[in-house]
């Protein structure tokens, strides 16, 4: 059996590797211009996240984390990407995603956010004695990058991608700060997420038919004084 022979320090090494990959995919989503590329990156992020959760479960010897890893896998690697694919096909989105701020600038802001989150989590790092405490900064950075993505993109589908990336970051934060939330809460969150995806999907159809576009800038037209 593989897992009985793996020393804990190797596992924690792998955890930090996976954390780095999560961060990388977050940056990738920030700068990716094609919408299918975005979904692919989101899928990868989910995969790394679920693997990471499983490894944390192994290191911390918390078995309920295996279940949440499995949950993440099925929801974020299989179900959500599938829904998004369907959505995009139905909406017939082909062109590249427009960004508001140019790509190198977004990268620099992203780097600044990573440094900021490292700075912000420093006190927690001092107090905590969990093996995963160093990945907390990465988790916070992932949340911030998701938010940044929502700010810098115009397209409605990328908004939801940013939202989902943010949720990934929160989940990651929970795993690294306290070895995961209680299972009931996680189920609840997962279910909410799924609902959110559906609602967003319905929303998009409505927006698309109303404005003939999915650019959220069109929403400015809803203002009365226009």
């Amino acid at each position: 059996m593989f897992k009985f022979y793996m020393p804990v320090n190797v596992a924690s090494h792998i955890i930090s590797f996976l954390a780095a990959l999560v961060l990388l995919t977050a940056f990738g989503m920030l700068v990716q211009k094609r919408i299918y590329g975005l979904i692919r990156l989101f899928t990868w992020q989910g995969l790394f996240l679920s693997l990471n959760t499983a490894f944390v479960g192994y290191v911390a010897n918390k078995h309920h984390l295996y279940i949440s890893a499995l949950l993440t896998l099925s929801l974020k690697v299989i179900l959500l990407p599938y829904i998004l694919h369907i959505l995009i096909q139905r909406l017939k989105i082909r062109k590249e995603v427009e960004t508001i701020v140019n790509v190198p600038m977004t990268m620099l802001i992203g780097i600044a956010l990573v440094i900021l989150s490292y700075h912000l989590t420093a006190p927690i790092r001092e107090l905590s004695n969990l093996t995963t405490r160093s990945t907390l900064a990465v988790a916070l950075a992932t949340v911030m990058l998701g938010l940044l993505m929502m700010i810098t993109r115009k397209h409605a589908v990328t908004e939801i991608m940013g939202f989902l990336a943010m949720e990934n970051g929160l989940f990651f934060a929970a795993t690294s700060a306290t070895y995961g939330m209680p299972l009931v809460v996680e189920f609840g969150v997962a279910f909410d997420l799924l609902m959110a995806a559906f609602i967003f999907g319905i929303f998009f159809f409505q927006i698309n038919t109303a404005f003939d576009s999915l650019s959220v800038e069109q929403m400015a037209r809803l203002k009365e004084d226009d």
């Binding site: 090494h13 930090s16 590797f17 954390a19 780095a20 990959l21 961060l23 990388l24 940056f27 700068v31 790509v103 190198p104 990268m107 992203g110 780097i111 990573v114 440094i115 490292y118 160093s134 990945t135 900064a137 990465v138």
Partner: protein
């Protein structure tokens, strides 16, 4: 005095000079295979060089001494860099001459003069090549430094021989930071050696060429020296990457017996890197010039993430 390091030094420089065209021949052969063409063989670069050396020089009317001096200088910096970067052994008397930053600067001085030579002849092509080359270099340099910085964090040194030594003594393990730095380094190396997607070494299409535009007016032995130096640059970047990230095979200090083994491993590494280069080059299309900011920006991002994750995760 122990003659061993001196012999190794000579052997290493000879390896560089002799093997560099073969490596380029190998890359071209692989590329031909990948594209379903018949290749001219591993030794075609040698035949090209030989032909160029035996030809007369056609010198542009306006060329000054800078144009004539540049090929020798570029060749000289490459050979010197080859004496410093550990290829076969880390027991090099020249090794303390320069750390990685100096080696990057050595490449830069060759580029500086090549760009001047492009301006010297007074054509639109020469200036265009120089301008673009300097632009790419200035974007690649910060990323390069950041990658070096990340590696030096892990190994507490910027000297290549010392980095190899530290990795051998097991003080360095595979970290996320190093893998980011490696990815960044690959992107930068593609830019610095003028490969696809940054520049196409085999194009002579006026509007897309960068390095070729600068050296368009060279002929005869001047061109041969520049071409040869370009091959050595590719070779050296592969070797630099190996020394920074995967030095296994390079002979450790004072180990004579490991030299033949190192030669074999070097050849193997070159073979593998040839495949990597060709798969990148066939998989990607050449980018528009102003898309390169994103390409090199990605390199910088990766290198910076490497640096950050060293502090955050390691």
């Amino acid at each position: 005095m122990n003659p061993y390091p001196l012999i190794v030094e000579m052997l290493q420089i000879a390896t560089l000079i002799v093997l560099a065209p073969a490596f380029v021949g190998w890359v071209r052969t692989l590329k031909c295979w990948a594209q379903g063409r018949t290749s001219a063989g591993l030794f075609q670069p040698y035949r090209d060089l030989d032909k160029l050396f035996s030809k007369d020089i056609l010198l542009p009317e306006n060329a000054s001494w800078i144009f004539r001096f540049t090929p020798y200088l570029v060749f000289g910096t490459m050979v010197l860099a080859g004496g410093i970067i550990p290829i076969l052994s880390i027991d090099l008397p020249l090794a303390p001459t320069a750390d990685v930053i100096v080696i990057v600067a050595l490449f830069a001085i060759g580029r500086f003069f090549t760009a001047l030579a492009g301006m010297d002849i007074g054509t639109a092509f020469g200036g265009m090549g120089s301008s673009r080359e300097m632009m790419i270099a200035s974007l690649a340099e910060p990323a390069m430094l950041m990658a070096i910085f990340t590696v030096s964090l892990a190994n507490k040194s910027t000297s290549l021989s010392q980095i190899v030594h530290v990795i051998y003594s097991g003080q360095s393990v595979l970290r996320p930071s190093l893998s980011f730095a490696l990815l960044a380094f690959i992107l930068i190396a593609l830019a610095e050696t003028g490969r696809i997607p940054v520049d196409n070494p085999s194009t002579h299409l006026e509007l897309t060429m960068i390095h070729e535009a600068m050296i368009l007016e060279y002929s005869g032995r001047h061109l041969a020296l520049i071409e040869w130096a370009g091959m050595m640059k590719l070779f050296l970047f592969v070797m630099m990457g190996m020394a920074l990230f995967a030095p296994w095979g390079i002979a450790p200090r004072g180990d004579i017996a490991a030299i033949p083994y190192a030669l074999v491993i070097t050849a193997l590494k070159l073979g593998v890197m040839g495949i990597v280069i060709v798969s990148i080059e066939t998989g990607l299309a050449k980018m528009r010039l102003f898309r390169l900011t994103e390409f090199l920006g990605a390199a910088f991002l990766l290198a910076t993430l490497g640096m950050l994750s060293y502090f955050i995760l390691d």
